[in-house]
Chain length 337, copies 4
């Protein structure tokens, strides 16, 4: 039986512990939060768990094998490092840390201590994202041309960081998972329409060849949009996460250039327009699968999608984007991972 | 009676001459195109007009007072300059020219010769855009925060230039008209997925304060999208040009920060969510109003929305964007107009 | 303190008891279901409640003042009658009963015993429906012309009755609440595409003047639609319950007939097309307000929207519709209530 | 060369003559309308055609082989009969006539005189409708369960008749073409919200087995909707004629009943939910294909989709629906065709 402690019982933590506790062989044993009212609210569901306001207390508990860290991002590194040093397996809410250097230290520490370090990039386990990945792997999209992500709405849901560090990790984890390679450089522009942190950011990732990824994240939009376009030379995918059904549509559409010459020569351009297919997606809860992956990695040691290196990659891109933001959009080269 | 010559009878020219000829006091008298088949196709509608394959022929005709230039963009400067020198009033299809220097020379030449120089920024006369401008002028949006434009589809409709010079002029003319000020700097990233010219471009315009405008133009998208979001501190506007009705919606939505402190303090954030209003728009054809504005300017000398300076401003931004594209997204400062 | 028993702990019952128990001055004291597993699943949330598989056991409990009946519709009458005879207040899941005669007996019995009899027409308390009612009351729609309801999807959610008795009560309760009058006659056609009961029904209600209401309910539709159109002579309302936002839109649209003569004379027809307004709706949970209304009626004796007579009216229409279905669409006159 | 006369140059007639005249071997030779201004407006496009205000003049012209009748429906019979008697082939705008008896007389007269009698049921040639028919023919929908048509908007486009005779012919021609059988009975309810003729009608067609077709036609709706749902036991089709793309979607969805027993037994119900496919449709203009079919029938004598019998079937249903409307929804049996 894997004993689990939840550290941070705010917005997301209760979902994580519910999914962990529901797994066979996993049991919630400690609930930890600075705010005793949150502990009180959560306790009735986990009668066997004890509560504490001191996370070091949880780390010192020999009945605890693993901790889920769902605290504000600025505290991730400190708690995760202490947990790994205490010999615990660690699952951290996204993003892994607020600096690439810290993320790297955690990854190395986990490798050294032989503990599992995972990050909760929930969307990676979304049935739509999994399906898009398998469509890409099948080659049916042809050469990948671009990924365009829009994640905008009215609302500052996570508020100790800017919209970049709050919303972009979702799309970056998806982009990294789908493209399976590192960008060459990153640039970002944004604006702090309220207070000092950015509430709107446009982020560009440039890969080798002509592949491009672009994100628009915005807390001050009148509409809620969660869309991802994936352009391929043969087919294209639209993923609308708010569609009531048919969240993914695969378009058999493309442009074919005939013969020699420049695009400007209209005679050379031919369009291919075929059917649109919306594959049926299963309804599994992505967070449940994140937790399964974490539990399986603890049990078997086999690496999972959301391992520390995946978390590190997202943090490296965020950090580069922040540097670009701070220099008004300057291009920031990423050193090879 | 104002005698008009149409130079360039391809895709857009026939629409322009139809709208000009329909105006009281305006008559189409010369049709000019390199391709005699186009002339033949158009002639029956304008029995009084003569046709020619040589634009200088049209410019030399004393019965011609004004010319509409609907040729490929690379030829705009040469023809417009010759027309102004020949004492003709000039209406040019967007963009005005393919270089800022040339655009400036045309503007100065028109001022010197006292001829009207207009550019066909059709969207500026769209009832939706006119309405948004009057909403902005009324102050009901509060402080302007951003304009976000998406103009994507599958198709290379105008093909002698990149997607930047083909599609972005539409949105840039709208952004310039709505914001009524010049950006401080411009940056652009893009990719040439087909041939040598860019088929996808992301373009950022940075203004004083935190105002931001951003465009996504793309010839290789599976969906056709024509949307503009305008964020204000009090209200926001969504303009969806493809909506079958309710093309503009005004959202009485916003975020209010209470008291002191940083955005991160959730207690400080309050949302205001009120009604959504879709104002009724009249159905007038924008191009007809462009042509009216041109004819009125000829008659009265009064300046119109789409004058040469408006055309120059769009070209200056395009040119800066192109420079940024060529240097992988480098920020390009615009000197004051 | 009002002690409550829940009878029937299947799909909907747990929601009802959760909302009742959350009210100040109301406490869940007995949970009753034929299936002990359901009792076991629900018990942990209501540690103070005892469980039983015998509803007469609940009715005999002197600590119980009110019962919520969430059993299959065929059992509603028997249980509700016994509860009223035992001196309990009664809240019944929709529809009130499966026969008009039984519904009438319950209404009379409640009046005789001075107990509260309510039916859970949840939608009547939906913020959208409440708002539409106040729009109608304000007179801004002009004369009411029609109500058109579509409630279709793939799925047999409630399966002991036909789609008429399963889905139509939702819309009928809304139609009765909005129109606040009784239809003169009812007709219905349908088809039993699966098994013996109807899985698709079209239902027409004819009122005095030219007012018409029409429902389409269908368990075998590829799309999920929940829409209500309300046509008025001055304005019209569209209520789309599945819209992510702007569930109600009020259209300032209409046809005006000028002068004398028949509609056929085109010169007489004029259209009025103005703005569209989507009023902001509050987010209150309708079922919570149903339960509040029930508790307040118990406390104060004041009548509420969902009283027994409202339940009876819906059952009378359903019964007439069933009679019409059984006679291939014959018009069934409703005697005055 | 087939010489054609257009009788009725109002809204639709100019489209018909344009498509006829564009066919090889067909020439517009006479234009006829009571209103000389319409003739004047149309004449420039057909310089070789003469104009007249007297239709008998057109029928007496030996250079005329065929007439297209686009006059108000009440005049269809008189003109079509005279045309057939004069030995002309006849294409009539929908509906064929305003009475079944007259429609039948035309069909018989055409057979007797050996002339072609066609009705312009344009939608039957729509690529979407043709595709749905081939999907049905392939058997992939399984057993047909229902067809549900909604055709509503604000506007009295055709105004000499009620909404039944104006809008329903479109859907009835599609329903007849798709189902390829006659309904057993028809019923209709409606309301005359303006003037004396119905402006809103619900129409039900009952076929053998449990097959049902239903139409909602309405001139007083705030939204424009053109949708057709086709339910099959294996798959279902949604045809949204106003969708900017993907007008047809085929849903691999259904309900499977396992084992014995009634629908009410939830354990028996199983859902099958697979992919959704939107087949690509070609862009051909339906009216051009209607005209082609007419010209081919003249040339070869081979029967076409929109022959007189197809027109008669639609009129018979309309007439039965009108009888039902006049008797408040009474079921009207159709005698076998």
């Amino acid at each position: 039986m894997v004993g689990v402690a939840l550290i941070g019982c705010g917005h997301w933590g209760p979902n994580v512990v519910r999914n962990l506790d529901a797994l066979p062989g996993v049991e919630a044993r400690v609930l930890c939060d600075l705010d005793p009212r949150r502990l009180e609210a959560l306790r009735p569901r986990y009668p066997a768990a004890r509560t504490t306001t001191e996370y070091r207390d949880a780390l010192g508990d020999p009945r605890i094998d693993a901790v889920a860290i769902c605290t504000p991002v600025t505290s991730h590194f400190e708690i995760a490092e202490a947990a790994l040093l205490a010999g615990k397996h660690v699952l951290v809410e996204k993003p892994l840390t607020d600096s690439g250097r810290d993320a790297e230290r955690l990854v190395l520490l986990a490798e050294r201590t032989g503990r599992v370090l995972h990050v909760d990039h929930t969307l990676v386990y979304h049935p739509a994202v999994q399906r898009i990945r398998s469509i890409i792997d099948s080659g049916e999209l042809g050469e990948l041309l671009y990924v365009d992500c829009v994640r905008i709405n009215l609302g500052l849901f996570q508020s100790d960081v800017s919209v970049l560090w709050d919303l972009a990790p979702h799309d970056l984890s998806v982009v990294c998972f789908l493209l399976d390679r590192s960008p060459r450089w990153v640039s970002a522009v944004g604006a702090a329409h309220l207070g000092r942190v950015e509430s709107q950011v446009y982020l560009t990732l440039k890969y080798d060849d002509s592949l491009l990824a672009h994100l628009h994240v915005n807390w001050l939009a009148p509409l809620k949009i969660r869309s991802t376009l994936i352009g391929g030379s043969k087919r294209m995918v639209v993923y609308d996460d708010l569609a009531p059904s048919e969240r993914i549509r695969v378009y058999d559409k493309g442009v074919v250039l005939e013969g020699e010459g420049e695009v400007g020569d209209r005679n050379r351009v031919d369009y291919r327009i075929g059917d649109v297919v919306a594959p049926h997606l299963d309804e599994s809860e992505p967070l449940a699968r994140v937790c399964e992956g974490f539990a399986r990695a603890i049990e078997t040691g086999e690496p999972a999608l959301n391992d520390g290196r995946a978390g590190l990659e997202v943090v490296r891109i965020l950090e580069a984007a922040q540097a670009s933001l701070d220099r008004a959009g300057e291009r920031i080269r990423l050193r090879p991972a």
